[in-house]
Symmetry: C2
Subunit: 190 residues, 2 copies
Amino acid sequence: MSGTQERPLRADAARNRARLLDVATEVFTTRGVGVPTEEIARAAGVGVGTLFRHFPTKEALLEAVMVRRLEAIAARTADLAAASEPAEAFFGCFRLVIEQSAGKNEFTQALAAAGVDAHAALQESSQAIRAQLADLLARAQQVGAVRAELGLPELVALLVGTGAMMELLGADPAARERIFEVVFDGLRPH
Amino acid sequence: MSGTQERPLRADAARNRARLLDVATEVFTTRGVGVPTEEIARAAGVGVGTLFRHFPTKEALLEAVMVRRLEAIAARTADLAAASEPAEAFFGCFRLVIEQSAGKNEFTQALAAAGVDAHAALQESSQAIRAQLADLLARAQQVGAVRAELGLPELVALLVGTGAMMELLGADPAARERIFEVVFDGLRPH
DNA sequence: AACGATACGGACTGGCCACTCCGGTTGTCC
DNA sequence: GGACAACCGGAGTGGCCAGTCCGTATCGTT
C-alpha cells in the first residue's frame, strides 16, 4: 500500500529533509505548533522554499514529525512487549509511551484524535500502536494484572491523561512516581 | 485590592457586556479559542467595536470567561465541601471539577498554568480553588480516605489529566465511570 | 569538464484577524 | 422634552504568516 517507491533523492536534498525533520521535531515539541514555518527553515539552515518543497504544507510537516515519533514508540513497545511477561510488559509500555511523549501535549492529542480526524499516514502508524496496546491489555487482563472491564478506548484515554499530568508536574521525579503509583494501582483489579 | 470601584455602566452597556461574556463562554468552550473575535461579536448581536471597548484585548475576554468559570466552580465546591464529611466531599468535588470543565481542555490548561504565567485576575480566582482543594485533600487524608503522600500539585495534575481523559471519551457514560473508578481507587491508600 | 536534471533561496502575494476610529445613536438627568 | 454624556457599529488598518515562483546554484553522469 504505502509505496515509498520514489526515485532516490539527491544527496543534499536527503540531508536537508532529514535536518528539517529533526529541527521541526525539536521546535514543535518545545515551543508548540504555532511557531512560523520560516523559523524552522532558518534553524535548519535552508530557505522556506526548500521546506515547502519537501513538505507541501505546514500540516504535512507536522504529520511527518508525528509519524516518526509514533513509529519510534511502536518499535520500542514491540521490543519491550516481546521480552517480558504480560504484567511487566503492560506497565512497562505504559511508562514508555508516557515518557516518549514527554513535552508533547499536542502529540498525545494527535494520538487521541487519530481515530477521529487525522490523515491517512497518521491513521496507519497510530493503528499500529493501538493494536499493540490492545494486545498488551488483553494479555495483562488474562493474567489478572489489570481490571477486566477496561477497553482500549479507556486505556488510550488513560495514557493521554496521564501524559497531561506528567507535563504539568514538570521535572519533579518523585511527584511523577506518585502519579504512576496512583494510576497503576487504580488499573489493577479491585 | 481588586477595586471593582467603577461608576456603574449604562443599562445597555451592562446588557451587552453580559451577553458578550455568555456568548464567548459558549463559543470558546465548544469551538476553541481560535474563533475570530468578530464572530463572537456578531453572535452576541453587537459590533466588534463594542466588544473591544468592554474587553480591550481578545486575551482579556478569555481571561474574563475563565475567571467566571473558576468562580462558579469555587462556589459550588465550597457548598459541597461544607455539606459532607471529608471523604465524600473530596471525591464529590473531584467529580464536580471534572464535570464543570467539560469540553474545555484549554480551561483546564489555564487552571494548570495559573500558578506559572497567568495574569493577575486568574491568579486570584485560581488561588481560591487551590486553597479549597488543599483543604479538602488534607481532610480526606486525615480520615484515611486518600493516600497520605499526595500533595496539592499532584492533585491538580490528577484533575487536569482526568479532565483530559474525559474529553477523549466523549459522551460514553459507562467508560467515564470506569475511568473514575480507576482514578478513585488509585487515590485511596495502598 | 561539461551538460542536463535536480534542488535551492528568499522576495513576494493573498488572506486572515486583532484592534482602531469616528459619525451616528441611545440612555439618563434636570 | 431637551441636552449632554455615554455608548454603539462596522469599515478600515497594519501586521503576521502560509504558501508560490523563478533565477541561481549544486549534483551526478558521460
